[in-house]
Amino acid sequence: MALLSAMLARAPRALPLAALLVAGRGLAAQAVRASEYDVKAVFLFNFAQFVEWPAEAFPEADTPLVIGVLGDDPFGRVLDQTVGDERLGGRRFQIRRYHSVDEIKTCHILFVSRPEGDRPQSILAGLKNRPILTVSDADGFAERGGMIRFVTDRSRIRLQLNLAATEAAHLTISSKLLRVAEIITRPGP
């Protein structure tokens, strides 16, 4: 058990228990960690507020805002929990899951999971510039015509945005999102 002794020896200096208890109270503002897909689910939910869809995307006044997942669903129930009973401008949210592009009817935000997102061309061709915000964490997704890619970099999530692709689909992206995203300038599909 030499290892245990070594670890104890390297532990920080001793503090009386009482001091520790008191000090512990003041540590509320410490780093919070979150699960990757919990955070990505909240991003997807938030994108609804930062994107303006053309009128034809919502044929009825009560057409729900549909967030779709294409392929293996990495979110489990998190996406359903995140969306919950939320409304945006009176519209309910709806989560749909697809395993091929042909199944996609009404959809506003589409998360393309791996491995589908690794070969996005056929999916994007199938969507034919319909007003659907395409999102994935697959490598090179935004360069290859996808709209938003989640990049996990040193345990933090960054966004890449392909403006040409969103414009081709007649989606208007709010400046709040543009400010924080890395803009990819390669043309859309």
């Binding site: 001793a14 540590l27 979150a34 998190v78 345990s155």
Partner: protein, 644 residues
């Protein structure tokens, strides 16, 4: 290594005190409390981008396609249940048969064949096999982990022999603890009550530079005795102390090393002899190496020592050395191949008594194993077939082969149909070959010189559905068993001597149904129902007429209902109900019981909980023949947990 009997208690106390004193709050991060969806939604997009995220693989998605009856309970399930030990946590798994025998012994099995020495289940803690080669079963009183550090417990009912190895005849329990990175900071918890008299756990997790994370813990508890059917104290109160560590080193992006270990020591009262003394320890080293995007190698090495002295019955000192190597690789577009090699050496020294003897008392045995499985994507992401086999060599029966074939067919994004056929073996352990009773001649039972492996052929068909708030699973099975253990007269009709042999055969069939539903964001319910029938018959010529009475004591059905409710004012209320049919062969009546936990979290750092266990009756029996039966009393305990 010094004698763990003396080292363990001292280390445990030192660690418990040391952890409290050494920890510095500046290092602490909020452990275990990952931010909720509600909290995350309040953050701005910039704040979201500044959050540190942990990439926990979300098993349920992978599970959704697994071609076996697998259930997973998570850290949250365990935490919210109020379970205070590993066996209590296993009560959350609805496809397991879990019965408390007395204050410290548990009968735990899957697909039946439960007994005080249930022997058809493989149990792993972070890759370390914890069933004993003495009887192929688990001494549950010494299998413990700090439950707050458990990431999840995966339970497969049905054979898992191809990938998992010998003894995975009727199921696999795989306890997986969190990486040290996920358990940073100081956590102190403790409490006490009526049955669980007192307990405390201290864990500290820190970092050594940017690539090494570690945690160390110390814990201890004392439990009240169970009672005799008349209500008198059964004098089996006990206490344990345990300490351990885990260290994860991200040596590079393609190499990861984990070291972990535990030491424990405990004493258990006996009514008619001196205290039972148990102690032991283990140390595990793991290395995983990513060869390429489609290929990874893992190697694991461990040493495990257990000491058990039961005055009047027997004593045992057991050393286990184990090394495993596994390689997973993708071949072409359609083949995912995983293969591995393993070697295991045991050195077992038994001190015999007048009551029973293991002869020879001291044995050294070794096992060689190899396995290969190819998962073939016949239609990628839709139709997958996995074919594999395990080949094992043991000192008792030589080479043994355990093949399996599994098919999973994704009918839709949410539904998967699966089917499996497998051959699994329960290879001999010391008790089958080397047990003599009484401890000296003339023997009533004189070992089992001809005992060979028990064989199972299992057929399974299941369906799993997961969509939005609902997860549903149905598994059905039919198994045939040959060579089940029996006790045969050597010179019939003279009853003794008798030997242990393979004179019985049998069948089992049944269904396991589970459902998990998120009614609202703050209210989740989960239910499970298992139907199980087992029939055992003597082979022609066998003199064993017990029809397996000592091999399987299992209720025909069991039902579970769990509810997790988030209340206003930082309160959470959890309840778990179980209804277990009678165990006919032991005349144990059927029973229903209720556990409940109320938690108040006034600040993110502090949890105050009140837990009630077996609330419906003053006392009830779960297992055991009338003459030796113990009953379990209602228990209530309070729990305080601080996270710094």
């Amino acid at each position: 290594m010094a004698d763990p009997r003396t080292v363990a208690p001292a280390t445990s106390i030192l660690l418990t005190l040391g952890l409290i004193c050494f920890a510095e709050p500046g290092f602490a991060q909020q452990p275990d409390s990952s931010a909720s969806a509600e909290a995350l939604k309040k953050l701005s997009i910039e704040q979201l981008m500044n959050l540190e995220v942990t990439s926990v693989s979300r098993r349920p998605e992978r599970l959704a396609q697994a071609a076996s009856a697998i259930q997973v309970i998570t850290q949250q399930d365990i935490r919210r249940s109020g379970a205070s030990s590993l066996p209590e946590a296993l009560r959350l798994v609805t496809n397991l048969q879990v019965a408390q025998i007395n204050s410290r012994d548990w009968a735990i099995s899957a697909r039946g064949f439960n007994s005080t020495t249930a022997n058809k289940l493989l149990v792993l803690i972070d890759g370390r096999t914890v069933y004993t080669p003495l009887y192929s079963g688990v001494f549950w009183d010494v299998q413990d982990v700090p439950l707050g550090d458990v990431d999840r417990i995966e339970v497969i009912s049905g054979p898992g022999a191809t990938l998992w190895g010998a003894n995975a005849v009727n199921g696999v329990i795989n306890v997986i603890t969190k990486r040290a990175r996920e358990t940073q900071g100081l956590v102190v918890s403790g409490g006490g009550g009526t049955e669980l008299r007192g307990f405390g756990t201290t864990r500290y997790g820190g970092a050594l530079g940017s690539h090494v994370n570690y945690r160390i813990y110390g814990k201890g508890w004392a439990r009240e005795p169970s009672v005799l059917p008349g209500g008198q104290d059964a004098t089996d109160d006990w206490h344990m102390e345990q300490a351990g560590f885990r260290l994860d080193w991200d040596a590079s992006t393609i190499n990861q090393v984990t070291m972990q270990g535990d030491l424990y020591n405990g004493r258990i009262s006996q009514a008619t002899a001196g205290d039972i003394a148990v102690s032991g320890g283990n140390v595990v080293a793991k290395w995983s190496h990513t060869v390429s995007a489609n290929s990874a190698v893992t190697a694991q090495l461990y040493y495990d020592r257990t000491n058990r002295n039961i005055p009047g019955t027997f004593g045992e000192d057991l050393d286990i050395y184990d090394v495993d190597l596994q390689h997973a690789t993708r071949l072409g577009a359609r083949h995912d191949v995983v293969w591995g090699l393993g070697y295991r050496l045991i050195n077992d020294r038994v001190a015999n008594s007048a009551l029973l003897a293991f002869l020879p008392p001291h044995v050294t045995r070794q096992w060689f194993t190899g396995f290969v499985q190819d998962e073939i994507a016949l239609i990628p992401d839709r139709l997958h077939v996995a074919l594999g086999t395990k080949v094992e060599h043991n000192d008792y029966t030589g080479y043994e082969i355990q093949p399996s074939g599994r098919v999973s067919w994704r009918l839709s994004p949410s539904g998967t149909l699966w089917a499996a056929v497998a051959r699994a073996l329960r290879t001999p352990s010391r008790i089958d070959r080397e047990l003599f009773f009484p401890g000296q001649p003339p023997y009533l039972i004189a070992g089992g010189p001809g005992f060979h492996s028990e064989e199972e052929l299992a057929y399974e068909l299941g369906y799993r559905h997961q969509r939005g708030a609902l997860a549903l699973s149905v598994a059905t099975f039919y198994s045939r068993y040959h060579g089940l253990r029996s006790v045969e007269q050597v010179n019939p009709p003279t009853p003794s001597p008798a030997v242990i042999a393979n004179g019985q055969y049998g069948e089992s069939y049944g269904a396991e149904v589970t459902a998990d539903y998120l009614i609202t964001k703050g209210w989740r319910v989960r239910a499970g129902h298992t139907e199980l029938r087992i029939h055992i018959w003597p082979n022609p010529g066998s003199t064993d007429t017990t029809r397996g009475a000592s091999e399987s004591q299992t209720p025909d059905r069991q039902f579970f209902l769990f509810s997790s409710l988030d209340l206003p004012a930082h309160l959470r209320l959890d309840a778990g109900m179980r209804a277990i049919d009678d165990i006919t062969r032991q005349q144990v009546p059927g029973y229903a019981e209720l556990n409940a936990k109320l938690t108040w979290q006034p600040t993110p750092q502090l949890d105050l909980s009140l837990v009630g266990q077996n609330l419906l009756h003053d006392r009830h029996a779960e297992f055991g023949a009338p003459a030796t039966r113990r009953e379990i009393e209602r228990g209530v305990y309070g729990l305080v947990e601080w996270r710094f």
